[in-house]
Symmetry: C2
Subunit: 299 residues, 2 copies
Amino acid sequence: MTAKPRVAKIRFNKLVVIGVGLIGGSFALALKKAKLVKQVVGVGRSRGNLKDALRLGVIDQAETDAAKAVAGADLVLVGAPVGQMPGIFARIAPALSPQTVVTDAGSTKQDVIAAARRHLGAHFSMFVPAHPIAGTEHSGAAAAFPELFRGRNLILLPQHETRASALRLVKSAWQACGARIVWLDAAEHDEIFGAVSHLPHVIAFALMNQLGRRRDAKRLLGFSGGGLRDTVRIAGSSPEMWRDICIANREALLPLLDGSIAELEAARDALANADGDALEAMFRGGREARARWLLKNAK
Amino acid sequence: MTAKPRVAKIRFNKLVVIGVGLIGGSFALALKKAKLVKQVVGVGRSRGNLKDALRLGVIDQAETDAAKAVAGADLVLVGAPVGQMPGIFARIAPALSPQTVVTDAGSTKQDVIAAARRHLGAHFSMFVPAHPIAGTEHSGAAAAFPELFRGRNLILLPQHETRASALRLVKSAWQACGARIVWLDAAEHDEIFGAVSHLPHVIAFALMNQLGRRRDAKRLLGFSGGGLRDTVRIAGSSPEMWRDICIANREALLPLLDGSIAELEAARDALANADGDALEAMFRGGREARARWLLKNAK
């Protein structure tokens, strides 16, 4: 009789989550639920949010000083808006223990990797860039739930300096959250998510801002159906977080936004000329692209 | 002992639905379910769709000639794309019996009312302009279901010529479908729905067309999350129907589309200048407008 091979399970004595929002909080909850973490320390700027996180059991200890928090940690997840990451990396770098693995959940990758390379110094080899493709329009620790990443993509972007052991650890942690690991190059990542995520967010915010600014907004919106509601759902997202993402990824986002403006100008011209064929061709193109996409994703 | 007052229930011997799509089909199904209609005759251009409608019990008889179909009808609902309505009104006008009430479900009202006034002649007093605020991104008789209008707004726009008896009949029919009656002026209607419905549709079609045209569309869209999916859900709608709506309502839609272009240009400039404050202000404006709207609608 042969013994069943023992699966080496990762286990964290101390996980530090910097930025206990929807993503960081859900990561903590998922690892807690999987019984893979002993203690979660949450770091944040908002005392109210940290209090929520403590009360809801998302974290076990709250800390406002990131450098103090990371001492002796096994894993540090930086879940703050990407605009804050350079400052956070600079602040924690001198306080990191040699064995501490650092990862992030930023929606843009070239800027975060550059900031980590610059500020983490020798510890950069222990940094594993990552991006979980999950979220809702809600933010804050109160919105976190352990199933958020189940079946969702987790993009890993190891650099040539990245240590295999650090990569393994981060990969295992996300797999324990139920995520599917996908590998991407940082430039391609930023181009892809500029198109399928950042651009739609700008468009949704812009449309809702346009309508909301009108004097008759209240009466107007009272008549809207489910179409507008879905179209602008993501305009409920955090303005600060999306400001940071858009600024960080502006090189990819600018030509995309120009493309959207050109598309709407074409629609405008077709409309002004009562050119039904041109308008229908655009609508048909959109409808067919959506149908191909959904068909492929249903497989 | 007094007798319970008898509620005068409307009852249709013959309902004709011209354009047996999601709206026309659901109207027929709802009246059938309420046992208020004896016979439904469906008129359409597509034999396949009429066959579906017959097979699914949406209609009892299919007809391709609208003039032949309307003979002896109690009620005619024109549910075709608004671009076809002038032709339909012209075709049925000579064939209408004096007692036949005509109504429509067009998404634009000034043009439909003008077309009815022009083409229905003396019968215009029996025409009741209406617009049910309901729909999904699916089209065709197969997408119809009797509960579509339950709790949804039905806009009624009687003209000074409209006979009270015709108005009462149409109002009762929609109430029997579970709709909530709302009264609007045609110009205000077109402005409101230009903003909360037609504009979002153009934007969703345009975004999906922009992304779908890319060579890397397949790979790109494979990475998208739920955000894009909701933002472009309504790009699944009928291109022909929306072409007609946009062309018909272009006077209201043009300045709205200009507003969207200006909004995206402002976002573009903020991005180009890395002006995080301007970008955040726009995002915050959008988020707050959405929050106010949802709060009001939840009441």
